[in-house]
């Protein structure tokens, strides 16, 4: 089923080799794509590199894009595959929130507590298995519908529903210690 795509015109021009049109697509999508990749990898340098790889790959594979989904969804599918490959290959480095220690700082108490909460929540999300993190990120931060997440992840809607349920259960578990200490 073809869906209306706000990028359709730029995609059509890009397919004909119009680099200016593709540059416009890059400008349009780079910010949310970088945010998504950063939330998946947790490291800005890796996120920058992988965002670039995803964009370059989308150019290389554009002729094969048939428009069965929005360009944005297709681009996220490329990025999702790259992120999940990268995350599953590396050793886990994220620490559960209960083991985190706040940095020594002289900033105001409120700002310190906000940073501490952010750090704890980020760690709780980073500890989720890659596919759960991907589904949660696309839902919470990219505001994608389940059907769109399913296309971006190459899963069924039912599988996305299940991933999101498990992600939310695990997130609750990961935040439990911080909650007991009154951090969040």
């Amino acid at each position: 089923m073809r869906v209306p795509d706000p990028d359709a015109d730029l995609v059509a021009r890009s397919k004909k080799g119009d680099l200016g049109a593709f540059e416009e697509l890059v400008k349009r999508h780079q910010r949310p794509l970088f945010s998504y990749v950063y939330r998946m990898l947790g490291n800005p340098d890796e996120a920058e590199e992988l965002t670039q790889v995803a964009l370059v790959r989308s150019w290389d594979k554009l002729k094969g894009f048939k428009g069965n989904s929005k360009f944005k969804t297709w681009l996220y599918r490329i990025a999702t595959n790259l992120c999940i490959n990268k995350v599953t290959r590396r050793k886990p480095t994220a620490e559960l929130p209960e083991t985190l220690v706040g940095p020594e700082t002289h900033e105001p108490e409120a700002e310190y507590r906000r940073r501490q909460r952010e750090q704890v929540v980020k760690a709780a999300i980073d500890c989720l298995p890659a596919e759960q993190r991907s589904a949660l990120t696309l839902s919470v931060y990219e505001n994608m519908r389940y059907s769109e997440i399913a296309r971006a992840m190459g899963k069924s809607v039912r599988a996305v529903d299940s991933l999101l349920f498990r992600a939310k259960v695990n997130l609750r578990k990961n935040l439990a210690a911080a909650r007991r200490k009154g951090i969040v």
Binding site: E23, R31, P44, L55, V56, W59, Y146, D161, K168
Partner: protein
């Protein structure tokens, strides 16, 4: 509806993904179940916490570098070179296998197995992946050679 089922359906309900029938069912259950109402509130609180996590600024040269990478004639040449090498490696492997089978048949099957460690002296797997190639190309851009 029992609590266990309601709790399983709450995330989709909160995300407005439950169909009308399910939605009414859940709402009827919530109206009479304080524990599940509490669970829904906790779920909302968790999702609000997620909003705390910020993302760093977009690297300023990301679009420039991306487009430079795409425009780089070097990238196309590197890719073409790799593809040609892979094709040649595949052809060489086929010839070697055929030669091995032929030699084996001449020796009457007395030689069994390959090298000591069982691996081929040359493997297509040793070729860099496309990610490696992209990585190299990125390095070129970073070093100012790909501009």
């Amino acid at each position: 509806m029992k609590c266990k089922k309601a709790i399983r359906l709450l995330p989709a309900y909160l995300d407005a993904e439950a169909d009308e029938g399910r939605k009414s069912e859940i709402e009827r259950h919530l109206a009479g179940c304080a524990a599940c109402r509490q669970e829904l509130e906790s779920l909302k609180a968790d999702m609000e916490l997620c909003a705390l996590v910020e993302v760093p600024e977009l690297p300023p040269f990301l679009p420039t570098r991306t487009m430079a990478e795409i425009r780089s004639p070097e990238r196309g040449r590197v890719l073409a070179g790799i593809l040609v090498r892979r094709a040649l490696a595949g052809a060489a492997a086929t010839v070697l296998v055929a030669a091995g089978v032929w030699a084996g048949s001449l020796l009457g099957g007395e030689i069994q197995g390959g090298s000591e460690n069982g691996s081929s002296w040359y493997s297509v797997e040793n070729e860099p992946s496309l990610e490696d190639i992209y990585g190299l190309a990125l390095g070129d851009v970073e070093n100012g050679e790909g501009r």
